[in-house]
Symmetry: C2
Subunit: 262 residues, 2 copies
């Protein structure tokens, strides 16, 4: 399908959806569950092409942790180990993602930020409630951004807490964009509560999952999202996962066991 | 909008949605969170008319706990204290609901069932995974069904664990229908994990939330649902709820405080 045909189709769909539900653009779409990802389910069956029907903005992981995925203005970017960004093909599959159609509905003015924790506190103060979902975009000038990404993992996959030992940390500075989300605490078990940020340099050639940063004064653009859609993978490996007992508060190291794609 | 116009509109929307997502009819739609309901948020702002765009089958609570809500074949039924069922107006609002467009994709043959726990075990054995969502319909002959419903609650509302003291239990026997759902354990915090059942007599004049039952051999029709959409209320009372700390495993009596609609 051509670019124009796709745009026309999306516009028609949107025109039909808005009067029927009044909520188009107000959905945070998530593929798989964060507990499944943490348990080592690194192979999803959904393609980026399908994901783009669910949003133009967000973050995730490609299959085998082979790339920290960022979706920005409808374009997918994949940051590999070392921080180099490539453009993944539409047929690329991913293991986890949260995306939405980004529409700014409030802004939060940020002073000079010296750490990731300080950024999270400053943005949190500007959010109307901790019980909703948010997509957040920040364009700014960074004196420092520390990102991580993984080399491609091979099955049998280790749980995320163990794979983290293989992450490669890269440091950037200069202008760029943060693509982030916030999910409420009660989404734990299904989603990843709190803030998560991916970074792209202004030329979109570098980036990754943000571990720490320092940022000049900037504006955070916030999209408040009232619908959270979790798509549970249609996949025997997911069906068989033991995802019970996660709520005992043991965190990532709780009941995780390595998972191999069947 | 007339009945025919609405049906045509729904058919058009479905025709457009199916090719775009391939998932129409595979969504469990939930309004509000179960933790918010348990905390005493008994007033929602969504109408039954809007809910019917999200499903034709499911269960919930009307505002003020004034009626155990059952949606069956697109018709809403409200069971009041004493088990008498009435047809709520389309403009009626509700505090919590889980609904879907019911399409049987597997059946489970049940032998003679002597209790609710036995029913849950028997249906569970027929489900392909505990990690997915299901809508379940059972038409059968009941030697006993014990249901509950509440008298209308008045603000300031008590948490559900306290309001339960006011529930009125009714016993039915004879032919009828169970409208049920199953949600995975990891949905706790947002949803109500496990099985939940509402009962309607065959003449649709009696029913309520099922506390216990005995059932002649019957067939359970199951609709497996891969998408769970949770709509967080667009409501200041919801925004202000303290829904943190629910995951400490304290259950309903945890951190709940009465909530008054602002």
């Amino acid at each position: 399908m051509g670019r124009i045909a796709r745009a026309l189709w999306a516009a028609l769909l949107l025109a039909l959806l808005v009067p029927a539900t009044g909520r188009a653009g107000d959905v945070l779409f998530q593929y798989s569950t964060f507990d499944a990802l943490q348990a080592g389910l690194y192979e999803g069956s959904m393609t980026l092409q399908s994901l783009k029907f669910q949003g133009d903005f967000g973050l995730g992981f490609l299959n085998g942790l082979d790339g920290e995925l960022t979706l920005l203005e409808g374009q997918a970017y994949s940051a590999g180990a070392g921080g180099k960004v490539s453009i993944p093909a539409d047929a690329t599959r991913f293991s986890f993602a949260t995306v939405s159609f980004f529409l700014t509905d409030r802004t939060v003015e940020l002073g000079r930020i010296e750490s990731l924790a300080a950024l999270n506190r400053a943005v949190r103060r500007g959010l109307p409630s901790a019980n909703l979902c948010y997509a957040i975009r920040i364009d700014g000038n960074f004196s420092r951004v520390e990102t991580r990404a993984f080399p491609r993992q091979k099955p049998p996959y280790k749980p995320l807490a163990e794979a983290v030992g293989q992450q490669v940390v890269t440091e950037f500075s200069g202008p760029g964009t943060l693509v982030g989300c916030f999910l409420p605490e009660f989404s734990e078990g299904m989603s990843m509560p709190g803030f998560h940020w991916h970074f792209l340099t202004k030329d979109r050639r570098g980036g990754g999952h943000v571990l720490d940063l320092a940022l000049d004064p900037a504006t955070a653009r916030v999209d408040t999202l009232h619908d959270l859609t979790v798509r549970l993978p249609d996949d025997r490996a997911f069906d068989r996962l033991d995802l019970s007992g996660k709520r005992a508060g043991n965190g990532p190291s709780g009941k995780e066991t390595p998972v191999t794609k069947q």
